[in-house]
Amino acid sequence: MPSKKMLSALFLSTSLIAPLANADIKIGVVSSSTGPIALVGIPQKNTVALLPTSIGGEKVSYISLDDGSDPTATVKAFKKLIDEEHVDAIIGPSGSGNAMAVIQFAAESGTPMLAPVGTAAVVLPMTEQKKWVFKTTQNDDLIAAAIVEQMKASGVKTIGLIGTADPYGENWAKVMTNLTEKAGIQIVASEQFQRQDTSMTGQSLKIIMTNPDAVLIAAPGSSSVMPQTTLKDQGYGGTIYQTHGAALDAFLRLGGKAVEGTILAASSMLVLDEVPDSVSKEIATKYIADYKKLYGEVPATFGGNVYDAGLLLENAIPNALKSGKPGTAEFRSALRDTLEISKEVPSTQGVYNMTPADHSGFDERGRIMITVKDGKWALLK
């Protein structure tokens, strides 16, 4: 595949340039631009071209690797970036499982890792190793809290859950169990499916039998569509909630009439025109415009997570430069310390406020309630 060729050409050129430009800041990027989670990885890989090329007067070079959605390949890519390229920080990987596999290596080598992944498990509970990990996305429970709040407000008493049988779906089931209990909402059915399943009849029948007021579907990417169309086909009439995993234009295209009226909580990137002006809105508008100019299409929110990692670095690097030269352990450690105290850093999806205990740092400015109206995303009013 051409991308492989390009990658090897990239290796070659960077290894040739490396001795000449030693003082450059080097950032590694690992994304899953092939394999099962390519949907997430491709916009992330594309976004690398939009990351800042110069920070605090220093040139920044990016080394972008593909892990094919395979955790073993992610580990290899991380080792290569750390041992051979001596990068100052790593952005990636795309998948939750992949990220869990490499935390140890980032921590051992003392390299800050900015993970654009969904699951909160990479930063919670905080441990000595996870100190080196920063998560650039909203935590599941932040999004879930908004959804549960909305359910409570609209009088939902019982819900059914359908989730993918992977870390994404499982984490959501866990988070929802906790939150609904507090809100007095009962989970009457909890079903699982595989992303590639060709039929969902069984799961949806089982949910309909319990007749819940609402159904929450927790699935990443376009796999979130099938449960919903099946439920609608079988005549389910209640409200259907989706997670931020469904916040893709493909969701609207594949779902058509069946996804009309869906409610989800996600970042404001989807409904930029409708949200009040803010710094985040400006940044997101610029990111989307730049991306569109380069690739001719609107980026999925997953790409924004990598862009935000660039913004966090841009904010932290000038301070870290005071403590050491790029390429040294002092610089990396100072970079980590500065990232940890990132205050009010605006990004495409919200505002970061990192603390030693919270390495995701989004608050309620990082998500809004969205619905589908006439085949388009719209702000839920």
């Binding site: 394999g35 499916f193 060709t198 089982k206 990417g221 086909d233 893709l248 594949l254």
Partner: protein, 345 residues
Amino acid sequence: MNLQIATLLGQDGLTNGAIYALLALSILLVFTVTRILLIPLGEFVTFGALTMAAIQMGKLPQLEWLLLGLTCIDCSLDLYQQARSRFNRRKLQGVALKLGYAATLVILVHTLPLAELPMGAQILLTLALIVPLGPIMYRLFFQPLADAPSLVLLIVSIAVHVSMVGTGLLLFGPEGARTKPFSDSGFHLGSVMLKSQTLWVILVSIFLIVTLFIAFERTLYGKALRATAVNRMGARLLGISPVFAGKVTFALAAFIGSASGILIAPITTLYYDSGFIISLKGFVGAIIGGLVSYPLAAIGSVAVGMVEAFSMFWASGYKEIIVFTLIIPFLIWRSMTSHHVEDDE
């Protein structure tokens, strides 16, 4: 569990089972004739579905370039071989014909208003794009080592599968797709709503299976293929070309694969990498038939579909485990009842 739910699940199982049966038959056919376990069969399913979806959206499917590229490699290989022996007028005509076909399709895809075509034409176009990939695939990857041990063929088959999945990602992107149903109508059977697409799947599957059966029993070409399957060397001695047999079976497999893809695309979301798991379930069906018996394979595949549908209802998290565990009792039963013949080739 009441009757209504059982009917719905049964309908679902039957639909999937019909597709698995078609795939199981192609796997069997290819295996008996060429000794190749056709792992890339699932990719024909996804290519069919995704090409159809691209056409319906009015986008260029991009597959035409793959077809043209592979045809060019195929033709240059043909020409190279002929240059080494001597040029043969008929073979040159064949080369020209193949190139002309691919070029015509590229032009057609680029000039026709894809989204506005009637659905029948869209289906024909999709099939016309994908079916030739089968024989070309055989010609390029398998024909040069047709006499290699089965294991080598299996490894090549896996390699082709992996590269086709990658090609699929490149051509169609990571997002899933589904197509418009053949017709929107549904009808009631008692209290249960049946979708017309389900009926389409089952009817077309039965039609294809019956046609295949008749073709193999009644036509000369079908009998030639059967002869090759029974005894390759003997068939060759009687003047049946193994290359021809290989290409025909691959064309049939590509046809059945892409037709299955087109059939199920309206009822499910297919991704560039969905094909493997679908053809694997067809393979379980084929194993139940012991990789020799067509009727057993068909029945086995329907059973796989049924087990899948009902386990989806009772234990959704363990569905795949249950389906693939099915293979173990059958393997044990097979190994106890059939005595093993050493296949020294």
